[in-house]
């Protein structure tokens, strides 16, 4: 008889999700699915609102990385007013983005995922969290908290507050320039931030050795990869053009115009999830499964463009054949390398002579009827696409969220991990935690992905071959 296991809710992720594991008669795993269970409807209720309200409204999609939505939305609005944003404003937006990526990656690594590998996949679930980490490894926990705070402080120095600083970003630029004192204050802390990130890398690489067996089957499968790159193929987060890499490491498309995303990305819908399933059009559905986010960005880019990160990037590429790292667990590694890069990049921006200039907004009213903004959010490529009527009221919205790009990959990853670890005849908590852990490695933000409200716990349900629910594990 076939059974189904349901993990619901999935814990230590951003948003609500459940995993169902379908079993064969002998208790082995046939298939696993990652379900997103919320529906929010941002794309619908934004209709009729003035376009310049969009950064403020869409940034409410998420309290973890509101900045990502702010920036993607602001870029779409820049597009609508069709003016050239002053260079200083671009530098400041980029700086804010660096702060955002640093804090979000620090949250993902230290708060959400490190308890799994520092305390152990099978350790007591009541202690397998940031508090348990603080008890056993107080120094690491403190460093994680500090690093996140550092990122948040960059955002605060620019916009006056850490979360939902939506009135600072305006179409055509930003509201206020950066003061010298604040720039210097951030610069004085960058060496410590780099030290912490490098330390986390050495902790992680040591963990890799001890987790060797676990890691082998941890969502290690071939997919396409997508990310923004600079003109010469370097790592890019704020601007740039799309590059797509095939599972065997070939660049199959390069310097694609991100505003024409619909020409190469299709969106499929399944009746068991509120999350859409994007795929790379030339490869079809579901063969065109692709991944985005830190792992994808490091895979598609040929270099980072900052000193320390470039060296780390070279080491990273060696982990996979043809320079493509396919293992989902390596998202953590990529995330840490990106932290180093972002701190270095923040330093570079702060040392730019134009960063303190006071001309930070190009003012204009509506000049176009359609605007698209694309950035690399911490979790991957984020697309905001708006159409407006003649007055500038939103008439149509499409948001492709970073996490959504990874939807097909989530399902592949949970299936692979479930097949390896789950045995329907003798369920254990640690077994299911591994299934959750692979989800955590991809660092989903489901509140964003369903554009959902509230906390994000996870549930696993177990079904038999007649689709009868025979077991359930709930946490969160």
């Amino acid at each position: 008889m076939v059974r189904e296991i349901v993990v619901n809710p999935v814990t230590r992720i951003e948003g609500h999700a459940k995993i169902t594991i379908h079993l064969n008669d002998d208790g082995s795993v046939r298939e696993a699915r990652f379900h997103v269970t919320d529906f929010r409807g941002f794309e619908k209720f934004c209709e009729g609102r003035p376009f310049y309200e969009m950064p403020g409204i869409t940034s409410r999609i998420c309290g973890i990385c509101p900045v990502s939505h702010l920036l993607a939305s602001a870029k779409a609005c820049d597009n609508l007013v069709a003016v050239e944003t002053p260079r200083t404003a671009v530098l400041l937006r980029r700086l804010m983005h660096m702060g955002q990526i640093i804090q979000s990656h620090a949250l993902s690594f230290f708060y959400l995922s490190s308890p799994d590998f520092l305390l152990g996949m099978d350790s007591d679930p009541s202690k397998r969290n940031i508090l348990g980490l603080a008890e056993k490894y107080p120094e690491i926990a403190k460093q994680g908290v500090w690093l996140r705070k550092f990122g948040q402080r960059i955002i605060e120095s620019l916009a006056g507050r850490r979360i939902h600083s939506s009135d600072w970003i305006l179409p055509g630029g930003v509201k206020t320039p950066l003061s010298k004192e604040k720039a210097d204050a951030i610069l004085s802390e960058t060496p410590k931030a780099i030290e912490i990130a490098l330390n986390a890398i050495s902790i992680f690489t040591k963990t890799l050795e001890s987790l060797n067996k676990d890691v082998e089957n941890f969502g290690d499968f071939p997919t396409y990869y997508m990310g923004l790159v600079t003109q010469d193929g370097g790592l890019e987060h704020y601007d740039g053009r799309i590059r797509i890499m095939s599972p065997d490491g070939k660049i199959v498309a390069d310097q694609l115009d991100p505003s024409k995303y619909f020409e190469y990305i299709g969106e499929a819908v399944e009746d068991w999830s509120y999350m859409k399933f994007p795929y790379y059009k030339p490869a079809g559905y579901p063969g065109g499964v692709y991944r985005v986010g830190p792992l994808a960005r490091l895979n598609v880019s040929s270099r980072c463009g900052t000193r320390l990160a470039d060296d780390l990037h070279k080491d990273f590429k060696k982990l996979g054949g043809n320079g493509v790292v396919q293992n989902t667990f390596m998202y953590h590694y990529a995330r840490l390398i990106e932290i180093v890069h972002c701190v270095e990049k923040a330093e570079e921006i702060l040392r730019d002579p134009e960063v303190l200039d006071v001309n930070v907004q190009a003012k204009a009213s509506l000049n176009r009827r359609e605007g698209i903004g694309v950035i690399e959010a911490p979790r991957g490529t984020l697309i905001h696409h708006y159409k407006v009527d003649e007055q500038g009221r939103i008439s149509w919205v499409n948001l492709i969220i970073a996490t959504v790009n990874n939807n097909l990959a989530f399902n592949k990853a949970v299936t692979q991990v479930a097949k390896k670890y789950v045995n329907g005849r003798s369920l254990s908590e640690g077994m299911l935690n591994r299934v959750e852990a692979v989800v955590r490695a991809l660092d989903p933000c489901l509140s964003c992905a369903t554009h959902a409200i509230g906390e994000m716990p996870l549930r696993v349900l177990l079904y038999d071959s007649e689709n009868r629910l025979i077991g359930e594990l709930v946490r969160g």
Binding site: G48, R49, P50, Y52, E53, G56, I57, R60, H164, S166, D167, L170, P171, K175, K363, S365, Q391, G392, R393
Partner: protein, 234 residues
Amino acid sequence: MSKPVELTIDGKKVTAKEGETILEAARRNGLYIPALCYLEGVSSFGGCRVCVVELKGSPRVFASCVTPVTGGMEVVTDSEKLRRYRRWAVELLLAERPHVCSVCVANGSCELQQLATELGVDHLRVDREWTDYEVDLTHERFAYDPNRCILCTRCIRVCDEVEGVHTLDLMLRGKNSKVIFDLDENWGFSRSCTSCGKCSASCPVGALYVKGKPLSEVKKKDLVSFIMERRSEK
């Protein structure tokens, strides 16, 4: 010369001018009574009921912005009953249209928001109306979002009494009332509007505002009283 009138407000002896309202007398003597639809410099109509006070000897409450002072009057501006009345007034205003502070241009400089904070309105006891009025962005400089309008009519009074063109007025009744331009034209097509901006400067919420500017930079609550004062000097 008008005769001075003696009254007490919260036990304090106050001298007011004949014909003055309780609210004006209180403010001139540095005493605080909350108010919302009242705007110094234009006529009052007692619509919002936030400025209610009690008068000794009467079981009723009175809108202080339209109640003239009389000799020997004993006014109470703060009591459990008044706080309850005011709270309900503000709650009903908040419930009447979809006021979402976090994404409103007035956030942080909104008089309704400030009153709600002051009166401890942290939730609503009645269901909200999710109105879906069309936002009017046809004017080059200003925007009008009826979904945020509290029907205080400050804009209408200012347009009529200060600018003198009476572009703005109300149509329909009760909670369906709507502030309109001319005969319900889009703002950008109004033939009488002089684009002076006094209406948006007087709007206590984010219903009428200057496009592209945070409200904290453009709200000028005292603009009307300033203009009227300068006019009276001439």
